[in-house]
């Protein structure tokens, strides 16, 4: 019985880790928009490319945050599972 509940927790955690990484969609779209707008801006104003690139990288990093939160959750579930101890 104990083995079964452990197996259920482990399996559910693995599924949860996979589901958490769906959040990778958001930052991907956001960074894509960020990059495309930066390319447009550089095309319109090539002399400002330095400042545009700098701003774009900061925007990318901010957009990336939610994805990284989900990554932290997924890593927690896989390598430091908090639910196994509660059985």
């Amino acid at each position: 019985m104990d083995n079964l509940s452990q197996a259920i927790v482990l399996g559910a955690s693995a599924i949860g880790a996979g589901l958490a990484m769906i959040a990778g969609l958001g930052p991907g779209i956001g960074e894509g928009i960020c990059g495309s707008k930066a390319v447009e801006a550089i095309g319109r104003q090539p002399e400002a490319s330095g400042a545009i690139t700098r701003t774009m990288i900061i925007g990318d990093a901010l957009a990336e945050t939610t994805g990284l939160y989900s990554l932290v959750i997924a890593l927690l579930l896989m390598f430091a599972n908090p639910f196994i101890g509660q059985l």
Partner: protein
Amino acid sequence: MQTLELLKNAAEFSVKGPLQSIKFSIGGLDVTISESIVVQWLVIIILAVVFFILGRNLKLKPTSRRQMAAEYIVGFFRNMVNDTMGVKYKKYTVYIGALFCMSLVSSLMGLLGLRAPTSDLSVVATWGVITFILTQRNKVKTGGVKGFFKGFIEPMPFMLPFNIIGEIANPVSQSLRHFANILAGSVVGGLVYFALGQVAGGLASIGVPAILSLYFDLFSSFIQAYIFCTLTMAYVSMAECD
């Protein structure tokens, strides 16, 4: 068949926290010297030696390549602070420069096979807390105690809880971002090295990791250090009360 073998071996792969081998207590206070702290000592020594060498016998007109490099580094931080915060926050250049160098070299320690201190949340969270304190200090300094408290009920009094949450969320998101980026790099790197060691009798682990390291270690470390510093500057200069 080979894939099955690989998957079976992959169960052995795990991510461990930093080693915490030295533990002692001073006056009832438990102190743990973790791996991150020891590696940070190494980083401090490296930075101290490098900047000591760079800063020796400077001349008014740079003649040596060493002084050119030193002036480039100082100019880089000075421009960064002036562009983001304005000239009146000139004295933050020292802190931002130190933070940038510390973050960059700490993250690059992963290249030497050591555990990067920045992949430990407690290290990065400390920097986040310093940013938080600097932000609040700047609020009190520019607006006085009255302005500091008044800032929380602006634009409307019912915004108070949101403003408090917003203040606390800044250092949390800032430090989690840095931590998760470096940790993700080391986890993905570890997984790929592990997988490369399994295929073609380990031959694939020659050369291929270098390309990945270029992105996950060099690029990511630099960008994260840059972003952490930019956000620190933005938070501190935006905290100004009028």
